[in-house]
């Protein structure tokens, strides 16, 4: 099948960048001095500095992972670990510096906030530059800020949960984030409070050779619910950037957290993210995880089902064009009885693009009556495209129901013929098949995001001669 398609990345509409207007940046490379400088600059308490230095130690000692995608080309010495774009965070859009404001205007952030969001946070390089939350939610005790503000203004609450889901020694990149973290989101939803419209954070890398290490901590108290959405883009530089976030979710009994990501980094970004949730009794955690951009992504949103009847839902979609490797998947750890997990993964590879599904299901001896369902489907668009599946299952209790289905298919000649016989061009036919393949994922998204995602996919299938 001959698809004369431009790569998503060649059409990457977010590839523009602003001039460097940063007010402070640490020296290139990583050292205890750099870590101390970050902590000092943020005027952090002593315990956080110690936490960071210990994490740096873990990072230095720990070898690079010998599995997953090829990370050998990351040059840790050639990265700025902290770049501060502004002196003060703004709550009014008017106070954001013009260049940054223009960027977020082009990305449609203020518009989105007006339309359908309960709160917005916009991070530019290392710091959140704009932040707002609806007043009525604030009055109900909902906290939504960047993580630095969370630490400063709610230290006890912050310290109680920070690093408890993903300790610094969890893996090399969690250690890196723990050492140099900055920005991200801190969300606290009090008991019984339901947020009926989403909170959103937007992450933008602007600087060349930049590392962005945002840190997100979401706590949903008993019986509460929250939907958090993050989007991300970066300019296309010739040098690679590194994005290594840590996201910790805690869903207390009966709470529900939905976390939606549309990752659309430019094709020079290493996206190495650790995302993990703890679900207590009767709680539900949903990861809706879309990966379109980046050079390499390694990300496996996980849920530890700690309380009876807890439920995990992970729905992911990945698109890998030429030169991209999306190594994504999910983990569900069933600790308590009658816990359930449902994992659905869809991936598309185009050109020399490569997708991998990597999943780990663990059912511990006490998790009687657990139910597990894993389904991963891959679609290949070209002869050279590649997709692999690495499902791991450790089942230590005989009283469980486990379902696992996987499929790899190619866009069929008969499908293309059927659609072209109705007048669609071959490219439009392929785009329609691709959209249909992602439909189970897309219908989980808020409408504005669904429209945007379909538009991005159509763009990636477009056949005009570039």
């Amino acid at each position: 099948m001959a698809i004369q398609a431009r790569e998503l990345t060649k059409d990457y509409q977010f590839g523009f960048h602003d001039e460097d207007i940063s007010v402070f940046r640490t020296a290139k490379g990583l050292s205890p001095e750099v870590v101390a400088a970050i902590s000092q600059h943020k005027k952090e308490p002593e315990w956080m500095l110690k936490f960071r230095l210990k994490a740096l130690d873990h990072f230095m000692k720990r070898p690079m992972p010998n599995w997953g995608a090829d990370l050998s080309t990351i040059d840790f010495d050639n990265i700025y670990y902290y770049v501060k774009p502004v002196e003060e965070q703004s709550r009014s859009w008017d106070d954001v510096p013009l260049a940054i404001k223009n960027t977020f205007d082009r990305l449609g952030i203020p518009e989105a906030e007006r339309k359908f969001l309960a709160g917005v946070s916009a991070q530019y390089d290392s710091e959140v530059v704009y932040h707002n939350i609806r007043e009525d939610l604030e009055q109900q005790g909902v906290l939504f800020s960047d993580c630095d503000t969370g630490l400063r203004e709610h230290e006890d609450l912050f310290r109680k949960y920070f690093g408890t889901v993903i300790p610094p020694n969890d893996n090399k990149f969690a250690a890196l984030n723990s050492a140099v973290w900055s920005g991200g989101s801190f969300v606290y939803v009090p008991k019984g409070v339901h947020l009926d419209i989403p909170l959103q954070a937007y992450f933008r890398i602007n600087s060349d050779n930049m590392g962005q290490f945002e840190r997100t901590l979401i706590i949903a108290e008993e019986g509460s619910s929250v939907h958090y959405i993050e989007g991300c883009t970066a300019p296309t530089y010739s040098n690679d950037s590194l994005h290594s976030a840590v996201v910790e979710l805690i869903a207390h009994p009966g709470a529900k957290i939905r976390y939606t990501t549309i990752q659309n980094w430019s094709d020079n970004v290493y996206n190495l993210v650790t995302k993990r949730a703890i679900a207590h009794a009767g709680a539900t955690v949903e990861w809706i995880d879309g990966n379109l951009g980046s050079k390499i992504t390694m990300k496996y949103p996980s849920v530890y089902l700690m309380g009876e009847g807890a439920h995990a839902e992970v729905m992911s979609a990945a698109f890998a064009g030429t030169g991209q490797h999306q190594d994504a998947g999910s983990k569900a750890i069933h600790v308590a009885p009658n816990t359930t997990s449902n994992i659905v993964s869809r991936s598309i590879s185009k050109g020399s693009g490569r997708t991998s599904y990597r999943g780990h299901i663990k059912v511990l001896p006490k998790a009687h009556g657990a139910k597990v369902s894993v389904r991963c489907d891959a679609l290949l668009l070209d002869e050279e495209s590649r997709s692999d599946t690495y499902p791991y299952m450790d089942i230590e209790n005989p009283d469980v129901t486990v379902g696992h289905e996987a499929s790899v298919s190619k866009v069929g000649e008969d499908q293309i013929f059927y659609l072209t016989s109705r007048g669609l061009s071959e490219q439009d036919a392929t785009a329609l098949i691709v959209n249909g393949f992602f439909e189970p994922f897309v219908k989980e998204l808020p409408m504005e995001y669904a429209v945007e995602l379909n538009r991005l996919l159509a763009l990636s299938m477009e056949g005009a001669i570039g």
Partner: protein, 254 residues
């Protein structure tokens, strides 16, 4: 016979995977007429349908086919559709995740026949009612999990919405019960007329009671061996293909 020949096929040879199936087919379907192409299983009827619509697996090795003077062989399937050719598939392919309503809208858009959303939905509702198709159908993924009968109705629904100039029905009657067959055939006859000709491919004459063809052609071993009026279909209904094949074999080659 009236009007100018719309579909014109001369000495068409078609191979699939290197095996020759059609060995010199001659056929003319003038604008607005209803023709039937009959023949026993394996005679090459569906091959002709696919080759005329432009399936890449069906290689034309010799001969010509034109539609309204345009050389079909040189054109990809989408260009043939835009000329006004439509194939009602015997086994339409499922496209998971693509709803029937979105699919039909995309097809209309591709053919430059897009209408405003409200008008489109009203027309769709009206055509679905005529074909006795349930409203829930429009949100179902096209051909995904459809029963045999649902697939056929969906094909005729697309035909009704797209309004081609020539509809090729490939064994549309197969797998339909009597009531469904009547609904589907009546749907086709509502559309057939000066603006739309029909080439109905079948090995079973029953559907022809509803469609009343102007001409009947019999395909055997990759060639049209005889043509006639509607009475030819009646002869096949009464006596099967054997006597006709025998008579042709015995006759001196013209």
């Amino acid at each position: 016979m009236s009007g100018t020949p719309t579909l014109s096929v001369h000495g068409l040879h078609v191979s699939v995977d290197g095996k020759e199936i059609l060995k010199g087919v001659d056929l003319e379907v003038p604008q607005g007429e209803v023709h039937a192409l009959m023949g026993p299983n394996g005679s090459g009827k569906s091959t002709l349908a696919y080759a005329l619509m432009g399936h890449p697996k069906y290689q034309v090795t010799a001969g010509a086919a034109s539609f309204d003077g345009a050389d079909l062989i040189a054109l990809p399937a989408d260009a043939r559709a835009k000329l006004g050719l439509f194939l009602c598939f015997q086994y339409p392919t499922a496209i998971p995740g693509v709803t029937t309503v979105n699919f039909i809208r995309a097809a209309l858009r591709a053919q430059g026949k897009e209408v405003p959303a409200r008008e489109f939905l009203n027309r769709l509702a009206a055509e679905m009612a005529l074909l006795k198709i349930d409203e829930s159908f429009r949100q179902r993924y096209i051909n995904d999990g459809f029963s045999g009968g649902e697939k056929k109705r969906s094909e005729i629904l697309q035909l009704a919405m797209l309004r081609p100039r020539l509809a090729i029905l490939d064994e549309t009657d197969s797998g339909l019960d009597v009531d469904a067959l009547r609904t589907v055939a009546e749907g086709v006859m509502q559309l057939a007329g000066p603006d739309m000709g029909v080439l109905v491919i079948t090995h079973y004459p029953r559907i022809l009671q509803y469609l009343r063809p102007d001409r009947v052609h019999v395909l055997h071993a990759g060639r049209v061996i005889t043509s006639g009026g509607a009475e030819l279909a009646q002869r096949i209904e009464r006596g099967g293909y054997e006597p006709i094949l025998g008579a042709v074999a015995a006759a001196p080659v013209a």
